[in-house]
Amino acid sequence: MTGTDDALVSLAGVSWSFDGSPAPVLQGVDLTVAPGEVVVVLGPSGCGKTTLLRIIAGLLRPECGTVRVSGRAPVPGQDSAIVFQGYRLLPWKTVAQNIGFALHALPAAEREARVARYLDLVGLAKFAGAYPAALSGGMRQRVALARALACQPRLLLMDEPFAALDAQSRELMQMETMRLIAGAEGPAPGIVFVTHSVDEALMLADRIVLMSPRPGRIDQILPVGFPRPRWQADPRQAPEFAQLRQHLWDRLRAMVLSDPQSDFYGRG
């Protein structure tokens, strides 16, 4: 594993809880992410994975512990870009304006050129002037992805970005997204990807960070060694895939059955 010095992200002893709540959402999280690495944070509801993402983005400040992104406390918009679950496009801006919104620091001409390039990348050049309401879910997701990639971040944070898509679109978008990220300009960004889907985690991750709920803690960190690019060499037939999948499911099931706040508590 990479040392803290050249790590893209390093978290040490990070805890966080809601104002006034005695039960912490996150407790003692240690994690490093290397440049270009894809780390998938997997866990059931209530494990604090989305909170963890917000802390890495600099949107939340940890109560204790330290967060470093590229060696300093993260500044929103400068050290990372986020792809959110619900797309979060501005309905009153066109597709091009939505992508441009994230590039406010650039001079206008450069911004326009960059927006055009990334619209091209995600195959939506024809829809530059369309409002989000006129697009399908998959297209909106690609706009949201283009908005994040256009910032050319060293760190890309993805918060269950495909959760709103149907099962087929979801699988296609996973591969499409990995291809687009690989095809974008510059070095590949490091990625922290939050999901509750075991299969999504196995398809995307270099390492899976399995989290347990209440309080949110890291349960295990598992390397995933399937060859890349996985949209060409589908790893799902490999026996190791089935083994890892089984292992992750067993752990998740155990967590959910022993979590008093889950719907399945004690039903094993």
Binding site: A57, P76, G77, I82, L90, P91, A105, A130, A133, A134
Partner: protein, 248 residues
Amino acid sequence: MIALLRLGFLAGLVLLWWVASVQVPRGLFASPLETAAAAGRMLAEDRLAPALLASLRVYATGTLLAAGAGIALGAAMGLWRPFGRTLDIFVYALAATPRVAFIPLIITLLGLGVEAKTLIIFLGAVMPVILNTYTGVLNTDRDLVEMAKATGASQGRIFWHIVLPGTLPFLLTGIRLGATIGLINTVVAELYTAVTGLGGLLALYGSRFQMAEYFVVVLTLSLIGVTVTEGLRLAERRLTRWRAAETV
């Protein structure tokens, strides 16, 4: 097709008006033709235009001031929560009070002139603007604000690109409601303070049983109302074009 049906309905209304004017004893009601003739006379003798201008001047002043102040106050209440929560109960109370009840007080303080009229119109028009702007700002999409923060957007940028566009449909509805109440209060003000403008003509012709002239004034007021609200509706549609795609 709809336009044709509407024209047909208008013709039906005029017909109904004409039938009514034939039934009612002469002198209490005016027929459409008499009203049209009266309109021609009033225009030729330049009786209508000065009154119309006087009314429009106070109406526009009061309503525009109300829009400006209402947006500013409503936005401040929505953006700064302790301020809004302290004030909103009083604003609701004032909105529920018939503000024409203040007319005697306003006359005592400001007299019978333009200032009193403008204030009466302002007080009527400002309430829906404040309340709708406030509601709009409170309805700001938290997820979009978080997205903007994640791009490093400043507070000002969040206001201009997220809070304001999200509030716009509410705000425009508030202005449209305010403009309607403003017109009502224009007539009320002109009847209760120095008798001027279109409200003054209403009082004059009504008391002299000049029903044809009276109807001309009523129709003029109706025309102002329709023009203003339709204009605002058009502006609303243009400014919130992005919503059109949602309903398709």
